[in-house]
Symmetry: C2
């Protein structure tokens, strides 16, 4: 049976940016504070009946985001703003290290996690004997000289459909299948800064950091390029390189199927920046 009555709840897609330095990751934690908790507290200030937001994914302690996505339902009867003002109202109750970049109304069927078809992460490495103080806690300081050619060649081997078990942390409940498809894995160099871009249909726990840690050890000469293909096929975490530290990682964007639907708000879906530094 199809309901033609107005739905009781309005659903919003939130695009969220945060500096993860001060948080125990995204998820609500028993010890320490999660980013999710801060956003739920801000929502509760506006809508006491709203208890939960549902995110596309989690991030670990110290990991940053410029394009985390979550959805939230707000009872239509309680909603007090023009849609475009919801982000501003939430930001008024959030600390400076968490910002809602956009809040757009989405159809009732939208689900931030189940509808996501891919994600893009960035990873920043500062490769100089002295750290750039303006990137402190925002990039991995790696003082030993890296060879970009070796890292690029190794990165190309990651692209495609592979079992990424060799690069993932162990988390039993995510162990059903370790096969994921990376559509992009490359790096750019600007002076001493390396920016890795990793894009795929899904990511295992700590997979990005395992890939970057391995690529960096290839660039350092510690892991021969010729071994990377073997590491991929061995499906054994012990054979790959180190796990890169959390502070260099940024969840840049979460992808959803583009829908040809009439805009409910007149506001366009936000397009995260291609080149914003983190």
């Amino acid at each position: 049976m199809v309901h033609y009555f107005p739905v009781e709840n309005l659903k919003f897609k939130l695009t969220i940016a945060y500096d993860g330095t001060a948080y125990q990751g995204w998820q609500v934690q028993k010890i320490g504070t999660g980013v999710q908790e801060k956003i739920e507290q801000a929502l509760a200030k506006l809508y006491p009946s709203v208890k939960r937001i549902h995110s596309s994914s989690r991030t670990d302690t110290g990991v940053h985001a410029l394009g985390m996505v979550a959805h939230v339902e707000i009872p239509r009867a309680e909603f007090k703003f023009a849609d475009a003002r919801l982000a501003l109202a939430l930001n008024a109750f959030l600390p400076d290290d968490i910002r809602v970049l956009a809040a757009v109304r989405v159809p009732a069927a939208f689900h931030a996690r189940f509808d996501a078809i891919g994600k893009q992460y960035r990873y920043y490495v500062w490769n100089h004997h002295a750290m750039n103080p303006l990137l402190y806690q925002r990039a991995w300081h790696f003082p030993v000289r890296l060879d970009p050619k070796l890292m690029r060649a190794a990165a190309r081997l990651m692209v495609g459909r592979h079992d990424f078990k060799s690069f993932a942390g162990t988390r039993e409940y995510e162990m059903k299948s370790n096969v994921r498809t990376l559509t992009r894995c490359d790096l750019r160099k600007h002076g001493h800064l390396y920016t890795f871009t990793i894009e795929g249909d899904g990511f295992l726990y700590k997979m990005c950091r395992g890939i970057v840690g391995t690529l960096v050890q290839v660039g350092q000469g510690k892991i021969p390029l010729s071994e990377v293909a073997t590491i991929l096929t061995s499906r054994d975490r012990r054979v790959a390189g180190m796990t890169a530290p959390a502070c260099g990682l940024v969840l840049q964007e979460v992808y959803y199927p583009s829908r040809k639907r009439p805009s409910l708000t007149g506001e366009k879906t936000p397009v995260p920046d291609e080149d914003s530094p983190a």
Copy 2:
């Protein structure tokens, strides 16, 4: 008379980066802490007889640097390292928000301030309703939409030899001449981030921030483009736009004449990064 004896002091050129958020600017202050003081304290740990470093310039409270230059003299008899290790040794005594990027030996005649022939500043503006939390204290959050075409046209008018009194703060002892030559004044846009690059043979007090504040008000439509030439020729601070906040400004590089001289250390003069984000 030319001395062929070894000089008593070794002179080093230090290239210094800092996050200016926690400091009352570069200079040693009566109230609050200057960046200079922190570096002098670190030097004193290694060489108690070394009291002062001499910088190319000062920066105001909250202004950052990636390429501040200072020179220091260390008695040859006391010097304990291979030259290349001086930066590492200093960094061991410095807080994380100040780093010596390079320390290279220079001829006794080198003077960080008097030999400087030009400087490059960068200014970062984040132009979106919500601030990017990864650029908090590193960019000016300007929430009103800016027109890059208007700002670019106004920026072009700044290039060349002008009396910049309209854009400078008042400081009597720098008021002998307000004529400076800008060799570059432009902006790039990456997503919501604007990066202004301003390069010239010298800068009046708060001149960069006066120029950026004016350009931004042009971009906002508050100051007509047609008025910018008039502002420049009026030599009156009251007619130009606002002073942009300190947190968006980075001293990117200080230029010196290139010398064809044999390297004393085998270490190359550091080349600051063209594209490092701040």
